[in-house]
């Protein structure tokens, strides 16, 4: 019995890391950029807008008087004494 034709094809020996990187790096970059964009437009921008809206018509004196009436301060008592 002759076994000259029974051997397997020689497996790929070189360029394995390069092949993997060429496949995975663009995907990794794309996913990272998408994650950053999603966080920016899903979290940071709404948060910045929320703070801007809160302070647009913020009256510090009025808030202070409300807190004073509620009795949480030790330096000033509520106006009713």
């Amino acid at each position: 019995m002759s076994y000259s034709k029974m051997s397997l094809a020689k497996p790929v020996m070189r360029g394995l890391l390069g092949k993997r990187l060429r496949f995975h790096l663009p995907i990794a970059f794309a996913l990272s950029l998408m994650a950053a964009a999603a966080f920016k437009f899903g979290v940071t921008e709404p948060r910045k807008r929320a703070y801007a809206d809160f302070y647009k018509n913020y009256d510090a004196t009025k808030e202070f008087n409300n807190m004073r009436e509620a009795g949480i301060f030790e330096s000033v008592r509520p106006t009713g004494k």
């Binding site: 019995m1 703070y51 809160f54 808030e63 409300n66 807190m67 509620a70």
Partner: protein, 169 residues
């Protein structure tokens, strides 16, 4: 020499098992685990020793035949030679098993036991909880937080409707 004399006072056996006999007076005893061993691993395809170390007469004659031309070996002889050198083939060694089921079962079991231990602890070990956990105290706490305006932009005070004195819809 003095060291071995001193050791011989302690025990005669110590000398034979001591691996450090200085001055070329003896040969160190080699333990089995220090010799090269055979193991089936994918990343080490050719181990340091053959699997079968004591060959039977049939195997010895086969090894002699191997020294000649390999074309004269039959299939069964080739497989026999393989099995002399190796215990498992790559396919056998890489085959998966069902061991993970036992592992997961064991994990869940011990997590369950831990849960029972925690429940027992809560009942029999820990003392009473501080008064700050009572409902009345918590209500006063929450009222104070709202009065102070804690987290007014996106947190708890932002969810409270100050005009109507209720939670925002």
């Amino acid at each position: 020499m003095l060291a071995t004399r001193a050791l011989s006072l302690v025990s005669k056996r110590v000398i034979s098992t001591s691996i450090c006999v200085r001055g070329g007076h003896g040969v160190a005893k080699v333990d089995d685990y220090a010799l090269p061993s055979y193991f089936d691993r994918r990343e080490n395809p050719l181990p340091d020793v053959r699997f079968v170390t004591d060959l039977s007469p049939v195997q010895k004659s086969l090894k002699e035949k191997e020294k000649g031309s390999w074309a004269t070996l039959s299939n069964d002889e080739k497989i026999a030679l393989y099995r002399i050198s190796f215990k498992k083939s790559f396919a056998e060694m890489n085959k998966g098993s069902n061991e993970w089921k036992s592992v997961v079962a064991g994990m869940l079991f011990f997590i369950g036991v831990t849960g029972l231990v925690v429940l027992w602890q809560r009942k029999f070990v820990y003392g009473p909880v501080p008064p700050t956990f009572e409902t009345e105290w918590k209500e006063k706490e929450l009222q104070r937080m709202l009065d102070m305006g804690i987290n007014p932009v996106g947190g708890i005070s932002a969810k409270w409707d100050y005009e109507n004195k209720e939670w925002k819809k």
